[in-house]
Amino acid sequence: MPGDIRFAFRNLAKSPGFTIIAIATLALAIGANGAVFSLINALLIRPLPYQEPSRIALIWEQFATQGLERIPCSPPEYLDLEKQFQSGTGLAAFNYQAFNLGGGDVPERVSGAVVTSSLFPLLGVEPIKGRTFAREEQGEGHDDVIVISERLWKRRFNADSMLVGKTLLLNGRSYTVIGVMPAKFEFPIPLFGVQGNQFAERVDIWKPVAFTKNELEERGSRSYGMITRLRPGVSLSQAQAELDKIISNWKQTYKDNYSGGGFGAKIYLLHDQVAGGMRTGLAILLGAVVFVLLIACANLATMLLARASARERELAIRVALGAGRWRLLRQMLTESVLLSLVGAGFGIFLSVWGLELLKQIGSRTIPRLAEVNVDLVVLIVTAVVAVGTGILFGMIPAFATAKPELTEALKEGGRSSTTGARRNQVRNSLVVAELALALVLLVGAGLLLKSYARVQNIDPGFDRRNILTAEVDLAETKYPQRGSDNYNRGAAMTNFWNEALRRVRQLPGVEAAAFTIVLPLSGSNTDSSFSIEGAPMRPNEPGPDEELRIITSDYFRVLKTPLLRGRFFTEGDNADAPGVVIVNDALARKYWRNEDPLGKRITFSDPRKPDPKWLTIVGIMRGIRHRALDVDPAPEYYLPLSQRAQSSMILAVRSKQDPRSLSSAVRREIQSIDPDQPIANVRTLEAVTADSVAPRRMSMVLLGAFAGIALLLASVGIYGVISYLVVQRTHEIGVRMALGAQRADVLWLVVGHAAKLVGIGSAIGLLLALMSTRTLSALLYNVGAFDTATFILVTTALVAVALLASYIPALRATRADPMIALSHNT
């Protein structure tokens, strides 16, 4: 074996050109596989950073008949479940909350969460400093303690060892830091599409929940997620059965709250929730890189076959000296595995580099991307893949040449024509396979590209250009709610919003400015149920529950969304004026199909009780695509901020120039009102829109990249085969030219052979593509999985590139001197 390794090194060093190309090919293919496997390892395989994560589960509520799934619970529901749910060893509730961290030179908005004291023990992760919450610290007036992340501790506080016990100013209130959680700890984990958050930021501050009196009275005010740890021996289905029973009891006890909508609750394993949404995409990626690896193997096998022909004499001598077939195979496979291992070594570097690039461009697309790295598992798997790859691509040439025709090879000038023909067949088959696989990848990439282009061309219902956005979260302590009346609370809050708008509108270059509770395509959403005046309320039938937006009067001017009928909100629609609402055309069609919605009224109160607060429809807007570009506008209704005060809003500013140039000015104006008030997540609406299609774009870019690599490798493959063919047939070409063949005849001879290979490869590739593109259906928008135009275009491109690759050696053949060719000793 050491002799084989030594000989392999020498042999490869003798052919630096071949060795470099082979290593580069392998580095690319194995590196791509390493990167994708790192993703799969971190996001799907590696356990979540909690104790026994496979036993942790989320509980979400749902209103099945209204199509509302995975919605949070209310505090009363949580407290009931905490007492009643026996299938878990504990239950915790959590909700996202942003904090304005003051006390430094610049106030900072930090992502946080409010959690019950049971959360940290349930997850089983200890703090690296201090402690977590005690039960007594949960509740109004006692909740002035926080736990922070190691990340924040290092970044903002330079890992101050004395920080635990010190106080920080959050939202204008003092909180004592009682603990620091380790860097690997993350909770809540960003989850797709839950609570409207497509992708929530990483949390750095945890505060104990403090359910308000209002929250404890409102069974229908749902904003908390629930998490539990399944008791040992309890299965998910058993836990679900218990949950169903509890919910059934609630429906009996609280008939008014659960009269319609198909209310229920479902328990999900946390890992499935986190990883489930990514499985299809990652599986497609894995398939793509495996294809690339197979194409690389085929390429290398054809190159090794060509080298094996030159080594026929050496192999014959070895057999004559006593080498058995296995010894020869071992020697040749040693060479290919050595190439593979060296290629894999470089490939690891490419994987690491690729992942760093992905982290930079994909941080808003793939959750938990920061956890993805090339760890020991990935290294081991890469090594195994390398050895397997080396054996795979080395096997075909090894078997093809390990039984040389001794007598012919050992005679002076001898050469075996029969084995050469067989090897040519093998080479041709490999190239056909490469072309077929490359076509499958190219078709996939083509479909995704067409789909992406279609999505990009969708009119979202607003003009996304030249709009700057920024999130503003007002601290409760400074901008308190007044009373329990949702309609007229927070005068301080309202004054702030009004003053902010006034100042921002006066900035040079500003065309219009407004606040909104959620931005379109941001992944966030709010909804609320309401009653329609005059509409019968039937028991067990769900009432309307649609997407709700709270805005200021110029919102539609900022977005340039057309008003279809009626009017926009005005300054006159203030807290003292009658309640007003604007609906979109989808909502109007849904509830007032055969009537004019203008002037109709809705209410959030129970219309059967005296003095419900009615809101009159004053305007109908064209629908905005809010959830995603490829999702039709859902029914929406809009309320004026002045009549429904909120503490967290998003500023949207339409500018005459590049909106990013307003960023500092906007921050300055906000902080001129309140120096402790930060703004966060400053980005253009174009960036928001681009982020909304980032997953689609990412899939397209990655699959496109792999398809491009596959096309390059396949082209190199066919170039190599045709070049070799030209060398082999030099004598024949010389004879043909001496007999009168013209340039075009020689070209046709060579390119014709290539065309045959390309034709067969394309035909097989098309069949394979037809069978496999169905897997992409979930990722396509307005493009069928068998889109004829894409198939034709992509196939034509592949054929053109492949024929071009074969044209170069063909051209070389036409330039051969017949006399030299005739004297060529083949």
Binding site: E314, I317, R318, L321, G324, T407
Partner: protein, 225 residues
């Protein structure tokens, strides 16, 4: 040692016809003989040698090697017998270009699963015997033709075969180098090794004690002295 009876080697042509390279070969070679096979180009000399060396399996007839019926053996069994009993010297030397002299001598022993330390000893002996110790780390391209053939002969005998087959061993050498090789063969023969050589050279044939003449695939003179 060797008996061939009715041995024939042919290649198929179109329309069911055959081209015969060797026809009706009946020869015997006793142990310890030094036989030269001679004849014009295309007579079938090299083919005969490769059949004797069990490189070529496409023949018909009977071949006995030390009373073992080679014609009844499978290819793997023939290879084992060849490894054990036969060494081959080629006209083009056929040294492995990417192995040093030492490694070229070591490789046939390695294929015969001889242990590492024993191989080292045998190679050292061979280097010493052929006085090429100083060249053990050189590659074939760094040697003269004669030196390469010397290594070729050393490689052929390193596993102590009973029979050496040499196909035009001096064909690519100068006369003086050729003489050296032939004298070496004579010495090996005197020590008991049976040698069968294919040669065009009457002078080389004189080193042997018998000549077999082939013409157009037929043995015309099996026992010419």
């Amino acid at each position: 040692m060797i008996r061939l009876k009715n041995l024939e080697r042919s290649y198929p042509l179109s329309h069911g016809k055959f081209f015969y390279v060797l026809r009706d070969i009946d020869i015997e070679v006793a142990e310890g003989e030094f036989v030269s096979v001679m004849g014009p180009s295309g007579a079938g000399k090299s083919t005969l040698l490769h059949i004797l060396g069990m490189h070529d399996h496409g023949w018909q007839g009977e071949y006995f090697f030390n009373d073992i019926a080679v014609h009844h053996l499978k290819a793997k069994e023939r290879a084992a017998l060849r490894n054990e009993q036969i060494g081959f010297v080629f006209q083009q030397y056929h040294l492995l270009d990417d192995l040093t002299v030492y490694e070229n001598l070591d490789i046939p022993l390695s294929y015969r699963k001889v242990g590492r330390s024993e191989r080292a000893g045998l190679v050292a002996d061979a280097l010493d015997r052929f006085q090429i110790v100083g060249k053990k780390d050189l590659y074939p391209r760094q040697l003269s033709g004669g030196q390469q053939q010397l290594v070729g002969v050393a490689r052929a005998i390193i596993a102590n075969p009973k029979l050496i087959l040499a196909d035009e061993p001096t064909g690519n050498l100068h006369s003086s180098q050729g003489e050296e090789i032939m004298e070496l063969f004579q010495k090996l023969n005197s020590e008991g090794t049976t040698i069968i050589q294919v040669t065009h050279s009457a002078k080389n044939a004189e080193y042997g004690n018998r000549i077999i003449q082939l013409r157009d695939g037929w043995v015309v003179e099996p026992n010419r002295k």
